[in-house]
């Protein structure tokens, strides 16, 4: 082998054993604060340092060590994940036609592999042969591009004979191909086999991470392995994301750094002045006998040295443990997310997972959600729900969203309609109590008129029979007998088709066998009858494609009659109906629009009886078209098909529910009420997307839909592109005008745009206006978008609005947007891990997003915001006292506190309470968060981390530092005895007393900040204070060589002294008085929402006054135009208006 190929081993880890230390340490010291502390620690080994080396190095080592441990743990998890993939097994040709299993990672380029049904391809393969004679295989590429329909791959004809293990005994071939690249849809290469060269195209290439479907097995040759595969080439390093709060925190740290440099400069100038002018007089310092640190002759040099000293000394302004504490807190928060049973999916057994913990608080600030559709909003499962046959609508089932809306309506009517009596005369009222009992996948139909053979008693039973036959015959699926249950399951190209077949089976028309020429259906008209197996000869199949929007089969039944059975989009079918076939057109149209409003996918079914001669004449032409070679073959076929698909007779229509994932409508409703915007980005076609829009209540009747689509252009025209763009630009301008001119406050707009139009609108000159239009629309649906476009749209929203975006998706096609968005959420549980691997949070159901955002997001945001504010407060309060003291020591760099106190301050004495604030604080309970989604806006509006609040906290810190220092010094004046036996306080006593006050003050402060005390908070807050005294006792009891002047200080000097305790009480109270007064005043005059709700809960008003609670809950939401609540409201408005018109004499207060 001339080239050294990569092995098939993949690795997504950041580090390995060797690179971990250097890389992780480098990462750590990229944080400016850590770098500063590192320099400080190095300098602390020199005589410049004001503090002992250990007091600088120990906290740094602790902090950095902890962060690195976290990194290591996260990387270990990634490693385990990789190992799982790498050690999957695949059958490889060993020798002499024998295949054996081996790990994926051992695969090499040129290996022959056999992949079996429903397995993933281990590498990029060249398809040689499959279990089908013609060498085709079906591939699901959902992981690559998110498309759910199966794709057909076809092997070269020359390799077709290689369809069993034995055949590979002497197989030799040479493949020459392009270098590895990331393009999924192109492949250039040739295959040299038996002295012939054959060209290869993407049709023969099976890509890693796509899945073999509907095919027993395939044989293939490995072309690209490991990181050379297309899917790996497409994967980009996940960008490291940082939350807004953290970015702002950096800014605050820069501010503090500036303050630090400023006071250090003041100090060093003060020191230089002192050294130059006063120190020569201070004989007790032996000024003539000094080194450069204190040289009165070289004040500038000494000042410079002192600058370094001061920078180290005042380092307490920068909270060293801030990063590590936030990290600990975030790990705890992530643990709570992972452990939350409300986000655990019982069905799949997958809990929620916070994959990175540094975005927790960002969850509380989300403004726009960009969601994938298939697999995220919907299950990619179609359920046959309703049908209209011969002008009669069957099926009493209702969609998720109807159930949800009906529920909401009935609860609303308790009080909402009390002012006006309306009987909501919608058909959805009675249904919600019915429990869904259907367990058959794909079938959710309930109507006794059709089930169990009773359809034979219906007036139009002939039509019904035809309807069922069309369902059972007009498709391309393959039946598969489940050996255990004896039930047929169907491998269909699309899930709709599968649903039709299941429905037909349940109605008694069981499709059981397909041969080359026939379809066999077992029919049973009533449960009592025996099965009758009927054979239908399939004469022709006119395939479905997105342009034709219909498919037909021509069959000959057992009586010899030739029938054309056609199903397709209603508009397409209706224009091809014969005059006699329009009997039910009116009723069916009505039903279709009802189904469409409910978000169901509809198809119209029709048939035509053919005369033998007519068929033969047509078939001759068809065969001619089929065998024609050249570019116009498809055009020819289409034209011929067109000839046949006319004069149709309408039978009815089907309504299939693209099954939403559980709880999706409710979740969307809640998220909308929380003020979040939802954009749907889907690869599906526009109709499907609109259906789902209705199903999720993103769209409703009466909403003004703005559809942007690129006008079909003539590619031969020179300025085609330009023309399309101008056209779009015009559309956008018109739409913006329309939105602006709208006066009705309830009017809602929906923007629907397709991928082609997006390619133009995402260009620089149009995107600003597109965004302007989009943000003014209540809902935005982008359809037929590529993965790349998803990412681009996400970037547009992120950068254009400057707000936090969250992207949620499940497939590899969502990876781009998941990585691009501020927060990426992956839906786990379905196959394929790409989305999850790229995501920051993984949940198994879309509905968990509600709890993730509204509960965890809200909490985490507030917790982290308050925690960081408190951190700055605490360190300013402490750090500045050191500075004040400097002014009284001739700026010499002496600290009033013992080194050990300073070391313990951040790491031990004040760290646990702040962690408990950050991890356990709850302003309101999780139930209340969910009941009052409007509370979420506190995060989106950033009420708790705006500069006003941050500066307020800093001001509080400044005030506290002044109180702490000057009151302590005045009380412990060195000019009078501080105890009854006459001693005066030395520096150790003053420092210890002052430090005690600080410990009390900051811990009382945090207790005032908290609103939720479990035993943990009590333990940590009061325990911290107690631990200070315990430390003091222990420190004082140890060797005086370590404690120096602090030896026995509590027992002997301070403990028995009244002044010590009185000063502690006094200063701790004075420090916290303004804050207490401030929050009392704020609560009294300007309460925030959570204050009021806390009070309602505190007084148990919610239990006493049920109506009020319910009313407030219903009001506690942002004005929203999407979600089923909005839909119900729109409906009520509509009904009220009608009523209003009918009885004009009645005065009703309504807004129409």
């Amino acid at each position: 082998m001339p080239l050294k190929y990569h092995s098939n081993y993949i690795s997504t880890t950041k580090y390995n054993v060797i690179t971990f230390l250097p890389k992780a340490i480098f990462e750590q010291f990229r944080r400016v604060a850590n770098l500063y502390f590192l320099l400080a620690a190095i300098l602390s080994l020199t005589p410049v340092a004001p503090l002992s080396a250990v007091s600088m190095i120990a906290p740094l080592a602790f902090v950095v060590g902890l962060s690195m441990a976290k990194e290591a743990l996260e990387d270990w998890r990634r490693f385990i994940q990789d190992m799982k993939v790498n050690s999957r097994k695949v059958a490889v040709h060993k020798s002499e036609g024998l295949f054996g299993y081996t790990h994926w990672q051992k695969l090499r380029v040129g290996d022959l592999v056999k992949v079996e049904k429903d397995q993933f391809f281990p590498a990029d393969l060249l398809l040689l042969s499959s279990s089908y004679e013609d060498g085709i295989c079906y591939v699901e590429t959902m992981n690559l591009d998110g498309e759910t329909n199966l794709k057909v791959k076809r092997s070269l004809e020359v390799t077709l004979p290689l369809d069993e293990d034995e055949a590979f005994k002497d197989f030799r071939g040479i493949i020459r191909c392009e270098d590895p690249n990331s393009s999924l849809y192109s492949f250039v290469g040739n295959f040299e086999y038996q002295q012939q060269v054959y060209a290869l195209d993407p049709n023969q290439i099976l890509l890693r991470d796509s899945k073999l479907r509907n095919t027993q097995y395939i044989y293939g040759v490995v072309i690209f392995t490991g990181h050379d595969t297309k899917v790996m080439q497409n994967s980009t390093d996940s960008p490291s994301k940082r939350s807004r709060i953290e970015k702002k925190m950096d800014k605050i740290i820069y501010v503090l750094f500036s303050v630090l440099v400023l006071i250090s400069l003041i100090s060093s100038i003060g020191f230089a002045v002192n050294t130059k002018y006063y120190m020569p007089n201070w004989w007790f310092l032996e000024p003539k006998n000094t080194n450069d640190l204190y040289n009165p002759d070289k004040p500038a040099l000494s000042g410079l040295f002192h600058l370094i000293t001061a920078l180290i000394l005042y380092g307490y302004l920068i909270p060293i443990s801030l990063y590590v504490s936030t990290e600990v807190v975030k790990v705890l928060q992530a643990m709570f997310i992972n452990q939350d049973l409300h986000m655990y999916d019982e069905e799949t057994g997958i809990p929620a997972q916070a994959r990175t913990s540094n975005l927790n608080e960002e969850l509380g600030q989300v403004h726009t959600i960009l969601s994938d559709k298939t697999g995220t909003l919907t299950c990619n499962q179609m359920d046959f729900l309703k049908c209209s046959i011969a002008g009669v609508s069957y099926g009493v089932g209702s969609t998720e969203v109807e159930i949800a809306a009906a529920k909401h309506m009935s609860s609303e009517s308790d009080f909402g309609t009390s002012e006006i009596e309306i009987e909501p005369s919608t058909p959805m009222t009675p249904v919600f109590e019915r429990v869904r009992k259907s367990t058959i996948k794909g079938f959710n139909f309930e109507d006794d008129r059709l089930m169990n053979g009773s359809w034979t008693h219906e007036p139009n039973s002939g039509k019904i029979l035809m309807f069922f036959r069309i369902l059972a015959l007009c498709h391309t699926a393959i039946p598969e007998l489940n050996e255990e249950t004896g039930v047929f399951t169907y491998e269909a190209e699309s899930p709709d088709e599968g649903a039709f077949l299941v429905a037909a089976r349940e109605f008694g028309f069981e499709f059981c066998k397909r041969t080359q020429s026939s379809v066999f259906v077992r029919e049973r008209y009533s449960p009592a009858d025996d099965l009758v197996e009927r054979e239908f000869k399939v004469l022709n199949l006119l395939e479905f494609n997105s342009k034709r929007k219909r498919m037909s089969v021509i069959v000959r039944d057992e009586s010899g009659q030739i029938l054309l059975l056609c199903k397709g989009a209603d508009s397409i079918i209706f224009e091809r109906l014969s005059k006699t076939g329009r009997t039910f057109e009116g009723d069916t149209t009505r039903h279709l629009s009802e189904y469409g409003e409910a978000g169901l996918r509809t198809l119209a079914l029709s048939y035509r009886v053919l005369e033998e001669s007519e068929y033969l004449a047509w078939n001759a032409e068809f065969v001619k078209a089929k065998t024609s070679i050249g570019a116009d073959r498809d055009v020819q076929l289409e034209r011929v098909a067109e000839l046949m698909e006319k004069e149709l007779i309408l039978v009815g229509a089907t309504a299939v529910e693209d099954k939403l994932q559980r709880g999706v409508p409710q979740c969307i409703d809640k998220l909308a009420q929380a003020g979040l915007k939802l954009w749907v980005l889907t690869g599906d076609k526009m109709e499907t997307a609109i259906n789902i829009g209705y199903a999720c209540s993103l769209l409703r009747q009466g909403m003004k839909q703005i559809c942007l689509s690129a006008a079909p252009s003539d590619p031969t025209q020179p300025n085609a592109k330009q023309a399309v763009k101008e056209n779009l630009s015009l559309q956008i301008s018109n739409a913006i005008q329309m939105v602006k001119l709208e006066r009705d406050p309830h009017a809602a707009f929906a923007l629907i745009i397709d991928g082609k139009a997006l390619t133009h609108t995402l260009q620089d000159d149009l995107k600003a206006r597109f965004l302007e239009l989009a943000v003014n629309c209540a809902s935005v649906i982008c359809c037929r978008v590529s993965p790349k476009q998803k990412a681009l749209v996400t970037r547009l929203v992120k950068e254009g609005t400057g707000k936090t975006t969250l992207a949620v998706g499940d497939g590899a096609n969502d990876v781009g947007m998941i990585q691009e968005a501020d927060i990426g959420v992956g839906i786990s549980g379905v196959e394929g891990m790409q989305a999850v691997m790229a995501s920051d949070f993984a949940i198994s159901q879309f509905r968990f997003l509600e709890r993730l955002l509204v509960v965890h997001g809200h909490w985490c945001y507030k917790r982290v915001a308050q925690m960081i504010c408190y951190f700055f407060y605490k360190n300013i309060a402490f750090g500045l006292t050191i500075f004040y003291f400097e002014a009284f020591t001739g700026f010499s760099g002496q600290s009033v506190y013992d080194d050990w106190y300073m070391l313990l301050f951040n790491v031990v004495l004040t760290s646990l309470p702040v962690i408990s604030l950050g991890a356990f604080e709850q302003d309101v309970s999780s139930e209340v968060c969910l009941q009052f989604p409007a509370l979420y806006q506190q995060g989106t509006k950033n009420l708790f981390f705006d500069w006003y609040r941050i500066l307020g906290w800093m001001g509080n810190g400044l005030y506290s530092s002044l109180v702490l220092y000057f009151l302590s010094v005045s009380i412990f004046s060195s000019e009078s005895a501080f105890r009854s036996d006459g001693q005066t306080a030395d520096m150790a006593a003053v420092g210890t007393a002052m430090f005690t006050c600080i410990i009390w003050a900051v811990n009382i402060q945090i207790a005032l900040t908290m609103s939720h005390f479990t035993w943990i908070q009590h333990l940590f807050v009061w325990g911290s204070i107690a631990s200070w005294y315990l430390f003091l006792l222990a420190y004082g009891a140890g060797s005086p060589l370590i404690s120096g002047n602090a030896f026995q200080i509590l027992v002997e000097a301070l403990g028995p002294t009244a002044v010590y305790w009185l000063s502690t009480l006094f200063i701790a109270v004075v420090c916290n008085l303004p804050y207490l007064a401030h929050i009392s005043y704020q609560r009294a005059c300007n309460p925030l929402d959570h204050h009021v709700i806390q009070e309602i809960k505190y007084y148990k008003k919610d239990l006493e006054d049920h109506d009020m609670w319910k009313r407030e809950r219903s009001k506690a939401r942002q004005e929203t135009k999407i979600g089923f609540t909005a839909r119900v409201e729109a409906k009520i408005r509509h009904l009220k208006c009608r009523l209003h018109k009918k009885i004009p004499s009645l005065t009703i207060q309504t807004v129409c």
Binding site: F284, D340, S892, S976, A988, E1052, L1073, Q1094, I1096, K1097
Partner: protein, 353 residues
């Protein structure tokens, strides 16, 4: 069809069992902690609480303030500044003052009289007070070695003691360092009506210092032997643990103006008593224009005379009463029913903004 249904159900339950095992392993275990449902007390600031907190603070602080102030007022303090008075009349320029004080040979004794303003009950503490003396300077504070002070075998351990580590010929100084070297050495003796008042110079330092930090078998060595003489000398026959002036001096003060205990007078002094003080004015504060004062003071349970604590307590206590009053007024004038939903943001701005 019935058949198919039941069998489907059977397999479903069969596979469910197997799946359950796998699932349960990932199912988070319920605990109140992980579900964040720990029982919690959620205090809120009701007007009742606000007013009572401020009132209680006031109620506690004012008596403490009164008691502290009374204690401080009880203390009788007599202060006599003698740094300029104890100079010969012809010395007025700073350089002269320094020359005078650093001249080892002149007699620097000086006599002062003070009048006792109020009855003073024993023990009466005698302090010296220095001013503008930066005992808290980093160079100064660090210049000592605790090991050497404690253990006679560690006499050579003079690290940190720069620049008073060793004598010119390299012998270690005990006690080394600037602090010891600059030991205060003015001396006082008191007499009333010609009768000497004994001053107890014992136990003016912390007991822990004497017992644990200054060795009873460590004797001063090579102390003040160099050319540059700092402050006082030490009796090389007394162990460090008994050199209490040194021990007190080594407790560096936090601020540049400080008092240190010099001794205790254990007799009562009466109002209008005239005390004659014979002092030796040895210590140089003239270089840096520092004042020297001699202080006689009694002590209350709170210590020396310091009105600050009492006044501070009184004023903050009063301030809290005012706050309590203001909040009461606020709640009366602008009452807000607690938990009144009309204050919720969506009710205040019906537009929902």
């Amino acid at each position: 069809m019935n058949h198919s249904n039941s069998s489907a159900a059977a397999t479903a339950s069969g596979s469910a069992d197997a799946a359950n095992l796998r699932r349960n392993s990932r199912r988070p275990k319920y605990s109140k902690f992980t579900q964040q449902e720990l029982p919690a007390c959620k205090p809120i600031l009701t007007p009742k609480w606000v007013i009572s907190v401020f009132t209680i603070v006031g109620v506690i602080f004012i008596p403490i303030g009164v008691a502290s102030l009374l204690a401080s007022r009880d203390v009788v303090e007599v202060v006599d500044r003698y740094d300029s008075a104890c100079l010969p009349a012809n010395v007025s320029h700073k350089d002269d003052k320094v020359a005078y004080i650093t001249d080892r040979d002149t007699d620097k004794s000086c006599t002062r009289t003070v009048k006792i303003t109020k009855d003073m009950n024993q023990p009466i503490y005698v302090y010296y007070q220095l001013d503008n003396f930066y005992q808290n300077h980093r160079r100064y504070v660090k210049s000592r070695n605790d090991q050497q002070l404690r253990d006679k075998n560690e006499a050579n351990e003079t690290s940190n003691c720069d620049p008073e580590k060793t004598t010119a010929d390299g012998k270690p100084i005990v006690p080394c360092g600037l602090i010891a070297w600059s030991l205060f050495n003015d001396t006082y003796s008191f007499s009333r009506d010609g009768k000497n008042i004994t001053v107890n110079r014992k136990h003016i330092s912390w007991k822990s210092d004497r017992d644990h930090k200054f060795g009873s078998d460590v004797y001063p060595k090579n102390f003040q032997n160099g050319t540059l003489i700092g402050g006082g000398k030490l009796d090389s026959n007394l162990p460090l643990s008994e050199q209490e002036d040194l021990i007190v001096w080594m407790r560096t003060a936090a601020l540049p103006t400080f008092r240190k205990l010099w001794g205790k007078i254990e007799v009562d002094l009466k109002e209008n008593d005239t005390i004659t003080i014979n002092l030796e004015n040895n210590y140089n504060t003239y270089s840096f224009s520092g004042k020297k004062k001699l202080v006689l003071s009694t002590a209350s349970w709170l210590g020396g005379k310091n009105d600050f604590l009492g006044l501070a307590y009184l004023s903050i206590g009063g301030f809290c009463f005012v706050l309590a009053l203001l909040f009461t007024l606020l709640y009366l004038i602008k009452p807000r029913k607690l938990g009144d939903p009309s204050y919720l943001s969506w009710n205040r701005n019906p537009a929902g903004q």
